[in-house]
């Protein structure tokens, strides 16, 4: 047992020194009927080499993203992460530390959280950001609950073009509260229609309007008029951003009038990892800070007047407020937030802007490829690095066929909007800096073949 330092001799000595007859003597408070009298029958311990071989075997059963042309997005994006990011987050002082409850010996974690909060506030164009949440989808539900606390109203309007799984999470998390979710129908072909529906549903009971930008189909739009309409009714505008790289190219949600910005931060510093762990970004305006969920790091001084950082405003949190807390959240995503901060530091202003424009250029190339296929209709006029197309046949089948010829060709909208009528033939594709010309060629050729 390579992870257990005690030897049998240690155990004997220790038991003797505490006057215990045997190890089970220490378990004497356990009711007799609960004792396991024989082994459960699960496998016994394995060596490093055995474990490595086992996982490699499992890995070999996957068709990984790097194995061919790759265009899958819809809430998680494949980007290049500099080698130093993963090296730094694996330093034991970061990896094996805990939530910084003892600030005198946790300034490393606290300072990077302060830097992270600042970076997120700047990127989103907001006043203040928290020290991260689990991911974008749970953050979105938290934003809706926060809007309820701020406005004391009970009805949230969810844009039809908000990621389907985000909508499901919001609905699930609020199902036993008195908050009502007004879920609009997806509008893959005409985002303006979604916008009009929101305005029609907006009223004096609306707590917030939740929109995604770029939306799940890749459309982007100026939210300024929407923000004005929402504010006129005394409601809050929650803007969800699932592709954090887009902050480098687009007008920030704050500039367009958002009150709460929720982001999925995986694109910066994070890998795909089959869906997690990811990184929830959460930013808002100064006036709402005490209604915010999650941990916050703040600046202060020590007894000698030296600047330092502490977790602060923790009276909002569950360990103090218990059932009156702003949220039941306990952990944040410390390590993925660190990866984000390091990657953002390497990018800097210059890097994030260049990276964003490169992504957009690749998406334009993707659009051109798709436009060259007669039976396909490209649905986006304005977009960032993701676009949607309408196919003559169901998209799910097309994606399966493409996978058979080694192309991971996007996400069928039916996968994230199961049971919704008008999205069966819609395919969502993303392009990033990792896509090369040969990928676009292969995709074009593959699609022509599959749609023949």
């Amino acid at each position: 047992m390579r992870y257990l330092p005690l030897t049998d001799r240690d155990r004997k000595e220790m038991l003797k020194s505490i006057n215990a007859a045997g190890i089970n003597d220490l378990y004497r408070d356990v009711p007799k009927e609960a004792w396991l009298n024989e082994p459960i029958g699960l496998p016994n311990h394995a060596s490093e080499l055995q474990v490595e071989r086992h996982f490699q075997k499992l890995a070999d059963q996957n068709q990984a993203a790097f194995s061919g042309p790759f265009f899958v997005g819809a809430g998680a994006y494949r980007h290049h992460v500099p080698a130093s990011v993963d090296h730094l987050i694996q330093r034991g002082e970061f990896l094996t530390s805990y939530t910084p409850y003892q600030p005198e010996i946790s300034q490393g974690t606290l300072q990077y959280l302060f830097e992270f909060q600042t970076q997120v506030a700047l990127l989103t164009g907001m006043d203040v950001a928290n020290a991260s949440l689990y991911d974008g989808s749970t953050g979105c539900a938290e934003a809706i609950l926060m809007a309820q606390r701020v406005t004391r109203r009970r009805q949230a309007i969810l844009s039809g073009n908000l990621h389907g799984q985000y909508r499901d999470v919001a609905e699930t998390v609020t199902q036993f509260t008195d908050e009502k979710m007004d879920k609009l129908e997806p509008c893959p072909e005409n985002p303006e229609q979604d916008y009009e529906r929101i305005l029609r549903h907006l009223n004096k009971d609306t707590s917030c309007v939740v929109v995604q930008n770029p939306d799940v189909f890749g459309h982007i739009r100026d939210l300024t008029p929407l923000a004005e309409a929402v504010h006129e009714k005394g409601a809050l505008l929650v803007v969800v951003v699932t592709e954090a790289v887009s902050f480098g190219a687009l007008k920030s949600p704050g500039e367009m009038g958002a009150d709460i910005v929720v982001g999925e931060g995986q694109s910066i510093g994070g890998g795909l990892n089959f869906g997690g762990p990811y990184l929830g970004l959460f930013a808002t305006r100064d006036q709402f800070v005490r209604q915010m969920p999650g941990r916050l790091c703040g600046e202060t001084v020590d007894e000698q007047g030296t600047r330092g950082y502490v977790l602060t405003l923790s009276t909002r949190e569950q360990h103090i407020r218990r059932e009156k807390a702003t949220s039941n959240i306990c952990t944040n995503s410390g390590l993925t937030a660190l990866a984000f901060t390091i990657h953002m530091t390497l990018l800097g202003e210059k890097g994030i802007r260049a990276l964003a424009m490169l992504n957009h250029k690749k998406a334009c190339e993707l659009r051109d490829t798709l436009k060259g296929i007669p039976s396909i209709e490209v649905l986006n006029k304005a977009f960032f690095n993701e676009i949607s197309v309408k196919l003559p046949i169901p998209a799910a089948a097309v994606v399966e066929r493409l996978a058979e010829i080694g192309i991971l060709g996007g996400v069928p909208a039916s996968r994230i909007f199961p049971g919704v009528d008008n999205v069966g033939n819609i395919l969502i594709l993303a392009a990033t800096e990792l896509n090369e010309e040969s990928d676009f060629k292969a995709l074009g050729k593959g699609l022509k073949e599959v749609l023949k």
């Binding site: 890995a59 036993f176 202060t300 390497l346 334009c364 049971g419």
Partner: protein, 495 residues
């Protein structure tokens, strides 16, 4: 002595990134692109974002210097009660980074991710096997999210019978997440008292149950509990709860004490979350990401949220849609949960195997009792008898010394230890909760015990400055938390 730079040897000051970086500098090379007609629809960012950059060598140095201001398990004992800060094997990190497992998108077709689904299947089998419970929801993102999952399943099951009921019973000693979760599920919280043995007061509890009857939806209990003790009446509690048609939620934060030795399923538990970052050693990473799968009894199994695994012969897939074809109570997260953590936990579980995990529990309990026994004559244990994986003391031994629990903890920092959990659980005064875990050697424990004995002696002998001014030797002195909260400065701004 003071130095010109303010640095002290290896302890080097590091300004904020915003004070040393600038908008021109970068540590990456992005290929230049030629002008092209963009399709941003006039939504281009106009002014600068304001996020400074650093070159790669500066970045390495900035974060390396920061890292050195942290205490970590890799450096020494981190005995935070209730947090299970055990060694994080690096094999787990290596496995999670195998490109064929990490470079996989969550929305690829199932036919292309059979290996990843295989990881989920194997982890699910281990968790159900070790707990003796038939079903599992892997997707919860952390312990508190797992609690939400468990309680939502309970509410869904009750609603299915037509009566959601009103109250959740929670002992005074519970984690704060428990009542916060109950509130989010629309339940009122009723607190149940703890007896002088540190356990649920069975008589008071049965009386409460009698009086409130079918208004009770569930009890949320931590076992082993937050006082580090096994709830010896747990089976009677479970029976009584089931008798009125209510459910038993167990906070599994302390599963480390019993893994491989006792199955929660045999105790009558209906739902329990397992913090993979505690019992199964996925790294805490300065506060997450965690992962909190929930195991369920037969009665709650039908209500498990999507996504859940479906096996068709050898072929695996996920049920993802909320289409009314099952009783799933909903979806707690986009995608499928903390896959990276599943891999690490599975790597750890396989490494230990059933025999090793049993040894984990036994060594964790032995180490805690070793500390309890060797400190009980100089510190004051809150309850009699052996503990499970953590030893609870209160502050009676500090009475009249002018030293408080907080000061005692800060003095431990000077001795090179991370302090234990303080002031939790709330049921004892000035709580000191020590959880060494199984990955500490006898040599470390002996030194830790000797140091705490010396501190207890110094407090008794009136060496108050050693405590109230502590830490003397950390990178920082005590920080002014009042100032931080009165005038919150939550980000850097150009002055």
């Amino acid at each position: 002595m003071s130095t010109y730079t303010g640095n002290r040897g290896l302890d080097i000051n590091e300004p904020l990134l915003f004070e040393i970086g600038n908008l021109e500098r970068t540590g990456v090379e992005i290929p230049e692109i030629e002008d092209f007609e963009n399709a941003l629809g006039g939504l281009e960012r106009s002014g600068p974002i304001g996020t400074p950059g650093l070159s790669e060598p500066e970045t390495m140095r900035h974060f390396t210097r920061l890292s050195r201001k942290n205490f970590a398990i890799d450096m020494g004992i981190f005995p935070l009660g209730s947090c299970t800060m055990k060694h994080n094997p690096r094999l787990n990190e290596k496995m999670a980074r195998i490109p064929g497992l990490s470079d996989i998108h969550p929305l690829q077709p199932f036919s292309t991710v059979q290996g990843s689904l295989g990881v989920m299947k194997e982890l699910a089998d281990w968790l159900t096997g070790l707990t003796g419970m038939p079903a599992v929801a892997l997707s919860p993102k952390a312990g508190a999210n797992g609690e939400l999952c468990g309680l939502m399943a309970i509410r869904a099951a009750l609603e299915d019978t037509g009566n959601a009921r009103e109250f959740v019973l929670i002992p005074e000693s519970a984690h704060g997440t428990n009542p916060a979760t109950a509130a989010l599920c629309g339940y009122k919280v009723k607190s149940i008292p703890v007896n002088d043995k540190g356990r649920v007061d069975l008589d008071a509890f049965l009386r409460e149950l009698d009086e409130m009857g079918e208004t009770i939806a569930a009890i949320m209990l931590t076992n082993p509990n937050t006082c580090g003790l096994f709830e010896s009446d747990i089976i009677k509690i479970a029976d009584a709860v089931h008798n009125i048609g209510a459910y038993f939620y167990c906070d599994g934060a302390n599963f480390n004490a019993i893994v491989g030795k006792i199955r929660p399923g045999d105790l009558g538990i209906d739902a329990m979350h397992i913090n993979l970052h505690k019992t199964f050693s996925t790294p805490h990473g300065g506060g997450g990401p965690g992962s909190g799968p929930v195991v369920f009894s037969e009665a709650l199994a039908p209500f498990v949220p999507v996504p859940y695994l479906v096996a068709d012969g050898e072929k695996l897939s996920l049920k993802e849609a909320l289409d009314g074809t099952d009783k799933a109570f909903g979806r707690l997260t986009a995608f499928h949960g903390q896959m990276g953590m599943y891999i690490r936990a599975l790597s750890y579980i396989m490494s230990h195997g059933e025999d090793g995990l049993r040894q984990v529990a036994e060594d964790a309990v032995l180490n805690a009792n070793y500390i309890l026994e060797h400190l009980k004559d100089v510190m004051t244990p809150s309850f009699d008898g052996p503990c499970m994986h953590e030893a609870l003391f209160d502050d009676r031994f500090l009475k009249g010394t002018g030293v408080e629990t907080l000061d005692f903890a800060k003095a431990m920092i000077d001795e090179g230890f991370h302090p234990m959990t303080m002031y939790f659980p709330l049921v004892v005064h000035g709580a000191i909760l020590i959880e060494p875990t199984e990955t500490e050697s006898k040599r470390t424990l002996d030194q830790f015990i000797a140091a705490l004995r010396d501190l207890a002696k110094a407090a008794r002998e009136g060496d108050v400055e050693r405590f109230t001014k502590a830490p003397h030797l950390a990178p920082m002195k005590r920080l002014d938390e009042t100032a931080a909260a009165r005038n919150p400065v939550l980000r850097w701004r150009e002055s």
